[in-house]
Symmetry: C2
Subunit: 457 residues, 2 copies
């Protein structure tokens, strides 16, 4: 039998004579001869209040129904006399589908984030994580919807890769050989070393240079042994790549994209966002609204360094010093986005010395056409660049960075066969969710977070 | 400058006095004093014919422009006198952005699939692969659109997992230790063995038992050393999981889902599908239309075995024998879907002995509430089941299959805390694309296929 969701019922325009709902009991309150069951089915934050008389079929089991139990309630949807809810369900029958014991871990009280991480299989049953996962889903849809409307093709770049894309070295290796095997890479599944991707960019470029505008949205990996609130070993990235785009077009797209996702969440997740605005971060709604409506700032890296140095001179204290040629730290990024401009800021044209080989060298020979988007609370949200489309310049950059060109033969060939200016960027999806909800720890925006030493579930 | 796509231009309702297009030259044909450039920008299958006079700015470089070159053409969109196209571009200026040499690998002729696999970075520039990747993108969107409209939450289950989900054993192992390292699992990144997931189902179940209806859409992996046209080491799966669904509701959803994707492709990819219908599989449009419009067949496994045995008796020759308790082979699946019924067929209630521990045991104690969807040309497209929600039955099944329950503590807890009937299925996305296009080799529906010994790009 098809069961309407509680979300659908609560949005009903009129009473309904006979409906069946199934869900989990959040609380039971007893009165004389009847009980109130607060029922949640995950379709929305709100519960449906069910008023169940002891005398209805199944009502004799009312007292067995504890927090966490799965039940089915049949009844009449009627206007609720209670405050704050339009409808309630007057039960005509009750079925206890799956009981929950008295020691069910999610009793009605606040639980610490640490405790909830230890029960990742149950935490989506809390208001907070239910809301988070609905927001995560809507944000994902907003990504696809935005790019499709802009004429992009969604592409799946490989997770398994033979090359260490950015020379970062923090790669997970993949093998089909048993642990401790003495056989070498030639005897392994692919006949060579295989790694988990850190970025789909290099593989997306050939697709952009044929399909025009493409984007990836998939998992990426870092074997970085750092236990911080901002790093996970596995996370999802969105990486658009566009033929015939320069750095300005790239920033225009990135700005339109972030605005569209913010607007989509405001339009489709109002109740769930309100929870975060009330309990987690009182600024998150204001921040999302500002992002959706107000233009972002754009600034040269060089100018940003000047501003940061001036801030230092004026008494701002940073842990790390700043000078032209240094990578900015999160404290610097947040200072610019939060204190200096109070909104998202693009920095562009970074020193070539601190950026990867594939970024396009500017005419000054000192900087590359890179851009980062810095946002309040999380710092860097997006990193991107125009790509080097000139074969000789690219080869020189690879040589300067000590990269063996051999595995990049196909990447280099793109610069020989109808090469064209192109650009793209990467956005860490979990950072976007942290920005939208104010959740400070990446472990709490992922269903089953993977961090050093942590692989449960 | 914003450049309209060729798709947009070819759909124009009126002439346009001044447009700029950028793309890659498919062919150049010379006439007296001018040339025709067939331009493609990946936005659609069709090219835009550009008529370029030698005398326009940049026209002096016309003869340098070979197949594969990237160019920009500015001009006037006017009605085309040529057959089969409504519009052409009369150039007022031409820019050669990136030349292509005479030995550019994609000259205008047919290329073998094997050759094109060796240039995976260039093959999306062919009509066939351009069409395939646009279909792949639209099919992906159809997946998200369908489930969202049905009230599902999109969830990201982990790629890195500590457990061998189905006891299949064909797992890639992931490590942060160097090859040949003598250190054991305790010294590795997660402090234990880590694998690439073969299915997100077990991790999706807790999310269904809280959010109600969820689905995954992400990469999965098999370290299966078999070089066939149907197997890849990395492929994308769609796995919906629904609380309070039984096997019939599961089949209803699967049927509605496959129909919706077929309908979406027919509605949004007509030109690209027509290419496959003409050159690859003359049945693919008819097949998609039938799938979208006609009800699927439903059949007990037991009955299917009887039909197959009857077919044997009537002279049908199969390589593998069939009896109750055997797994059906692709030849049997295709016989049922192609010859016997001529449409998609659900088989349900398989013998428990050939199905995994998590499938719900039927009252006959001999079968489980499993269902497979068999379709013409690819055989099994979907595998699913109602899940065992009864703790004792689940534990007994795990014991019977020799599984250590310890790592499944959280999966078992779902059966203690508000357990509820639930069901789900998995669909291999590449199989769906093979079904839709008639492409016979999985290597040709993936941008960069990963198979034994093959990890290029």
């Amino acid at each position: 039998m098809h069961t309407p969701s509680i979300k659908t019922l609560l949005a009903s325009l009129s009473p309904l004579p006979s409906v069946l709902v199934r869900g989990w009991v959040r609380t039971r309150r007893d009165a004389k001869g009847f009980s109130f069951l607060e029922l949640n089915d995950g379709s929305c934050l709100a519960n449906l209040q069910c008023v169940v008389d002891e005398t209805v079929p199944g009502g004799d089991r009312l007292k067995e129904i504890l927090t966490g139990a799965a039940v089915a309630v049949q009844g009449e949807l009627i206007p609720s006399p209670a405050k704050g809810q339009q409808w309630e369900l007057k039960a005509v029958s009750l079925e206890l589908i799956g009981p929950a014991p008295e020691d069910y871990p999610l009793q009605k009280k606040r639980h610490s984030d640490e405790f909830l991480r230890s029960i990742a299989h149950l935490r989506p049953r809390t208001n907070k994580f239910g809301a988070l996962f609905r927001i995560r889903s809507e944000a994902s849809f907003a990504v696809h919807d935005f790019f499709r409307n802009q004429g992009f093709t969604y592409v799946h770049t490989p997770i398994l890769t033979g090359s260490d894309c950015e020379g970062a070295g923090e790669l997970f290796r993949v093998t089909a050989l048993p642990r401790g095997s003495k056989e070498d890479a030639a005897a392994d599944f692919f006949g060579r070393d295989a790694f988990l991707t850190v970025s789909g960019q290099l593989e997306a470029e050939p697709l952009a240079l044929s399909l025009g505008k493409v984007y990836t949205f998939g998992p990426t990996f870092r074997a970085e042994n750092s236990n911080t609130a901002r790093h996970a070993a596995e996370f999802w990235m969105i990486e658009p790549e566009m033929a015939f785009f320069d750095l300005t077009a790239n920033m225009d797209l990135a700005e339109a994209f972030v605005k569209a996702v913010a607007r989509h969440l405001l339009d489709h997740c109002a109740a769930d966002l309100a929870l975060f605005n009330q309990w987690v971060d009182k600024e998150c709604l204001a921040r999302l609204t500002q992002v959706a409506d107000a233009p972002f700032e754009r600034l040269e890296y060089r100018e940003a360094v000047r501003l940061l140095q001036a801030a230092c001179d004026a008494g701002e204290s940073f842990q790390y010093p700043v000078a032209f040629g240094t990578d900015l730290q999160t404290e610097h990024e947040r200072y610019l986005a939060e204190k200096k401009f109070g909104k998202p800021v693009f920095l562009c044209n970074y020193p070539a010395s601190i950026k990867p080989f594939y970024m396009r060298v500017n005419d000054d020979q000192e900087t590359v056409a890179a851009m980062d988007l810095l946002v309040p609370t999380v710092g860097e949200l997006i990193g991107g660049s125009q790509r080097e489309e000139r074969l000789e310049v690219l080869q020189a950059r690879m040589q300067a960075q000590g990269l063996d060109p051999a595995p990049y033969w196909w990447y280099l060939e793109l610069r020989q066969y109808g090469s064209a200016p192109h650009a793209g960027f990467g956005l860490g999806f979990e950072r976007l969710l942290m920005f939208a909800t104010g959740i400070p720890n990446i472990r709490d925006v992922i269903a089953y977070p993977r961090t050093p030493g942590s692989l449960e579930f």
